[in-house]
C-alpha cells in the first residue's frame, strides 16, 4: 500500500486512518510495535479462554466499581435511616450501610451495578483459580514462564483479599461479622497482635476508621498493584508467545495458530462482550449479597448460616476444623486455635504459587518449554495438583459445615471430624489415585499406538474365530501421542570413584536426587512405544 511515491504526494491525500497512524508513529513508534504484534500468531484451545475470563471480569469489576464510588459513602458515622426501604426506616446504621441501601433502592440501575460488581468479582476469582490450575496441570509454568505464573498467583491472592475488603464495605451484619473474625485473627498474632488490631481499627473494634481505610485499600491500593501485575502478566504473555499443545507441525520452536488481526481481535474482543453479557444476565436474575435482609452491623448480633464469599470459604474451613488450642504461659496467651489457621492459610496457597521453582529445582531442567504437557504424562505433578485441589475442596466443605449439617441432616460434629481427618488423609489418597489413573491413561495411549483404535467392527474369520478390527492410528495421532519426553531422574552417581576416592555428596543433593526419583523414577511413567516395537507389531499384523 505504501510505496515510496506516497511520501511525495501532497499532504492530505493519504487516507485519514493512515494519517492518524503516521502521527502516532512519529511520537510512539506505532509501526514498529504493530509490525511485531498485529499479525502475532496465537494458538487455539478451549482452555486458553480461562485467562481471558479472568481478564474480562477484572475489567467489568473496575467499570462497575468506578460507578459505585459515585454513590457510596465510606463512612461509619451513625445515621438514622429514612430512605425508601420501609423495613429499615428509623433504624440506626452507618452511612456506609445507608448509602448502599440508597444505591440498591433509590439509584436507578444502582442495584444492577452492585450485582454485576459482586458477580464479576466472584467470577474473577473463580476464573483465576481455574486458569491457574490449567497452567499447573499442563506444565505451562515451566521456564521461561515461572515469573509470569508467580505474577498470576499474586493476582489471585490480591483478588481474594480485595474481594474480602469489598464485601466488607457495606457494613452490613454479615460482612461486619467477617471483620470481627478478622479482628480475632489479628489479635491471635503473638506479641504484636493487640497493637496491630488497635492500629488497624483506630482503637477498639469496630471503631470508626475501618470502613474508610478498607475503602482506600479496596479501590486504590490493591487494584493499583493488581493493574500493574496484570499489565506485566499480559506483556509477558506477548513476549514469551503463548504455549501450545503438542501436535503435528507444532514444535517447541514454533507457535501455530491464527493471527491477532483479525481472528483473535474478533474472538477475544467478542468474548469480552460474551462474558459481560452473561454476568449482566446473571445479575438480572440471581440476587447476590442482599445486604438489606441482613440489617446493619451490630457487634452483638449475628445471623445463622453466616458464610463468606466462596473464595474465603477455604480459610473459613481452616478456622472451623482447628481444635481450640490455647497456651497460657508466663502471663501471656498464645491462641493457636486461630493463629495456626492464620499461618497455614498463606502456606497452602504459597505452595501452589511457588511450585514452579520447586519443580525446576528438582528436575534440574534448564531448557525453555513452549509445548504443553498432557497431565497424564506427568503423573506426579498431576497427582500433586489434584491433591492440592482436594485439600482446597475439603476446607471449602468444612467452611460450610453448618450448611451441610442442616441441608443434609448430618451431625455437625461428624462433619467437622471427617474434615479434620480428611485434611491429612484425603490429599494423600487423591495423590495416589490420580497417579494411578494417569499411569493407566499412559498405558491406554501405549495400547492405542501399538494396537490401533478399536473400531467396534467384529469380523468372523473363516475358521469361526471372532475378532475386533483395530484400525492403526494415523501418523498425526501417533506423533501427538509419542512426542512427549520421558525424562530420567537425576543420579547422584557413585560416591566412590574408580580410584577409591570418596566424593562428598551434600545432604541437599541427596534430597534432590530422591525427590527427582519420586518425580521421574520407578512407577512414574509407562515407557513409550518405540518405532521398532511399532513396526514389529504392525508387520506381525500382516501375517495374522
Amino acid at each position: 500500500m505504501s510505496t515510496p511515491t506516497d511520501t511525495t504526494k501532497p499532504r492530505g491525500k493519504a487516507p485519514a486512518g493512515e494519517r492518524v497512524a503516521d502521527w502516532a508513529d512519529g511520537r510512539l513508534g506505532l509501526y514498529g510495535l504493530a509490525k511485531a504484534n498485529m499479525r502475532k500468531i496465537f494458538p487455539d484451545h478451549w482452555s486458553f479462554m480461562l485467562g481471558e475470563v479472568s481478564l474480562y471480569s477484572f475489567i467489568i469489576v473496575i467499570l462497575t466499581g468506578v460507578y459505585l464510588t459515585l454513590f457510596f459513602h465510606p463512612s461509619m458515622s451513625e445515621v438514622t435511616y429514612n430512605g425508601t426501604y420501609a423495613p429499615l426506616q428509623g433504624i440506626q446504621m452507618s452511612e456506609a450501610y445507608a448509602s448502599t441501601l440508597h444505591i440498591s433502592f433509590d439509584v436507578r440501575g444502582g442495584l444492577l451495578m452492585r450485582q454485576v460488581h459482586h458477580w464479576a468479582a466472584i467470577v474473577f476469582v473463580a476464573a483465576m483459580l481455574v486458569h491457574m490450575m490449567r497452567v499447573f496441570f499442563t506444565g505451562a509454568f515451566r521456564k521461561p514462564r515461572e515469573l509470569n505464573y508467580l505474577f498470576g498467583f499474586l493476582l489471585l491472592f490480591l483478588g481474594m483479599f480485595d474481594g474480602f475488603m469489598g464485601y466488607s464495605l457495606p457494613d452490613d451484619l454479615l460482612s461486619g461479622t467477617g471483620i470481627r473474625f478478622m479482628e480475632g485473627a489479628v489479635l491471635s498474632v503473638p506479641i504484636v497482635g493487640t497493637y496491630l488490631s488497635f492500629f488497624l481499627f483506630g482503637g477498639e473494634f469496630p471503631g470508626h476508621d475501618v470502613i474508610p481505610r478498607f475503602y482506600t485499600i479496596h479501590v486504590l491500593l490493591i487494584p493499583g498493584i493488581m493493574a500493574g501485575l496484570l499489565v506485566a502478566h499480559l506483556i509477558l504473555v506477548f513476549y514469551h508467545k503463548h504455549t501450545q499443545f503438542p501436535g503435528p507441525g507444532r514444535k517447541n520452536t514454533n507457535v501455530v495458530g491464527m493471527p491477532l488481526l483479525p481472528v483473535y481481535m474478533a474472538k477475544a474482543g467478542g468474548f469480552f462482550f460474551l462474558v459481560f453479557g452473561v454476568i449482566a444476565a446473571i445479575s438480572a436474575l440471581v440476587s447476590v449479597n442482599p445486604i438489606w435482609s441482613y440489617g446493619p452491623y451490630r457487634p452483638d448480633q449475628v445471623s445463622t448460616d453466616a458464610q463468606p464469599d466462596w473464595y474465603m470459604g477455604y480459610s473459613e474451613g481452616l478456622i472451623r476444623i482447628m481444635p481450640g488450642w490455647e497456651i497460657n504461659l508466663w502471663g501471656h496467651t498464645l491462641q493457636l486455635g486461630v493463629f495456626i489457621p492464620l499461618v497455614v492459610f498463606p502456606l497452602v496457597l504459597g505452595f501452589i504459587g511457588l511450585y514452579p521453582f520447586f519443580e525446576s529445582w528438582v528436575t534440574g531442567d534448564k531448557r525453555e518449554h513452549h509445548l504443553l504437557d498432557r497431565p497424564r504424562n506427568r503423573p506426579v505433578r498431576t497427582g500433586i495438583g489434584a491433591a492440592w485441589i482436594s485439600l482446597y475442596l475439603i476446607l471449602l466443605v468444612a467452611g460450610g459445615n453448618d450448611i451441610f449439617a442442616t441441608r443434609f441432616h448430618l451431625s455437625i460434629n461428624v462433619i467437622t471430624w471427617v474434615s479434620r481427618i480428611g485434611f491429612f488423609v484425603l490429599p494423600v489418597v487423591v495423590f495416589l489415585a490420580t497417579k494411578r489413573i494417569a499411569l493407566g491413561l499412559q498405558r491406554r495411549d501405549r495400547d492405542k499406538i501399538l494396537h490401533g483404535r478399536e473400531t467396534g467392527i467384529i469380523k468372523r474369520l473363516p475358521h469361526g474365530e471372532f475378532i475386533e478390527i483395530h484400525e492403526p492410528l494415523p501418523q498425526s495421532a501417533l506423533y501427538t501421542l509419542t512426542s512427549h519426553e520421558q525424562p530420567k531422574p537425576l543420579e547422584i552417581g557413585p560416591e566412590v570413584d574408580e580410584n577409591g576416592v570418596e566424593r562428598k555428596v551434600g545432604r541437599i543433593a541427596k534430597l534432590r536426587a530422591r525427590l527427582s526419583q519420586a518425580m521421574y523414577g520407578r512407577d512414574t511413567q509407562i515407557p513409550k512405544p518405540t518405532p521398532e516395537e511399532y513396526k514389529e507389531i504392525m508387520s506381525g499384523h500382516g501375517h495374522h
Partner: protein
Amino acid sequence: MSESTLPSEREAHGGELAENPFADPGLPPHEPRRQDIDEKAAKSSERTVALLFTVSMLATIAFIASYVIFPVGKVVFIWPIGHISALNFALGMTLGVALFAIGAGAVHWARTLMSDVETAAERHPIEADPETKAQVLADFAQGAQESQLGRRKLIRNTMFGALALVPLSGVMLLRDLGPLPEDKLRHTLWSKGMLIINQNTNQPLRPEDVAVGSLTFAVPDGLEETQSDYQEQIAKAALMIVRLAPEDIKDKRERDWAHQGIVAFSKICTHVGCPISLYEQQTHHVLCPCHQSTFDLSDGARVIFGPAGHALPQLRISVNNQGYLEALGDFEEPVGPSFWERG
C-alpha cells in the same frame, strides 16, 4: 529405550525420518469451510452476524426505555424466579442481551468468515545471545567502575545507611493509626450496682422476668444506641442471661456467681468474637453460629466442641434492694477473643 524418540535424537537420525512411523507429519492441510467455497453459505453467515448486531442495538434501546419506564421501586412476579425488582430485571436482561449479541456476532464472524488458515511462526529464545550478554556485562562493569562505588567504601556504606534509615520516617508516621491498647480490652461497661437491661423491652430485668429455659440478651444500664462509642461498648458488654435449676449447675463458682440459678455470661465468643446466639434449653448448650464453638452453660460455660480456646467469662450478679438484677462488678477476665497480653 525411550530416548530414541526424543526430538533431538530424531532430528539427528535425519535419513530415517521417512522410516519413522512416529515422525512429525507437519501441519495438516487446511480444510475449507462451507463459507470458503459456497458464497451462499457465506452470505447466510453475514446475515446472521448482522442480525446479532441489530439485536444488540434493539436491546440497548430497550435498556434506555426500561430505565425511563419502570419506577425504581416496582416489584413484579416473574416465573420461576419469583418477586423481583422490575427495573433490575429489565436493565440487566437488556444490557446482557446487548452485550452478548455483540460478542456472539463477533465470534460468529471470526469463526465463519475470517480466514482460519493456521500458520506457524518461529519462536526465538528468550535468553540473550553470548555477544549481547558479554556487551551488557562489560557495560555494567564500566558503569560500576566509573561510579567508583566499589572503590570508595565510605560513600557506599553511608549511602546504604541513609537508604536503610529513611523508610523509618514512613513507619513512624503510622504510629497515629490508633491509640495503644493499654488495658482497654480488659474492661467493659459493667460495674458494681449497674442494672441489667433487657435488650428487647429496654427495661431493667427482675429475677421473675427470667423463666427457666429462656435466653435473654441484656446490655448495661445507660448504654444508648445514639452514643458515639455504642458499637465499641456493646462489642464487649453484650450479655446472655439464662435461668437454670440451681441443682443443674455443676460448677461451684458458677453457682456462687448466679442468683437463684440465673447466670450471666458474656455473649461474645472467645474464639474470634462472634455474638453467640443459639441456645439449646434441654442441654444448656450455647452455640456460636459463626464457627460452631459450643459452650456448656451448666458447667462454667466451658468449651465442649469447636475451635474456641476457653470458657465464656461469667458476670457476677445479684439483686438490689428494689428487686432488680444488678452486676456485682466488671467481668474478672477479658471478654472476647484471646490476645497475647491476656494471660
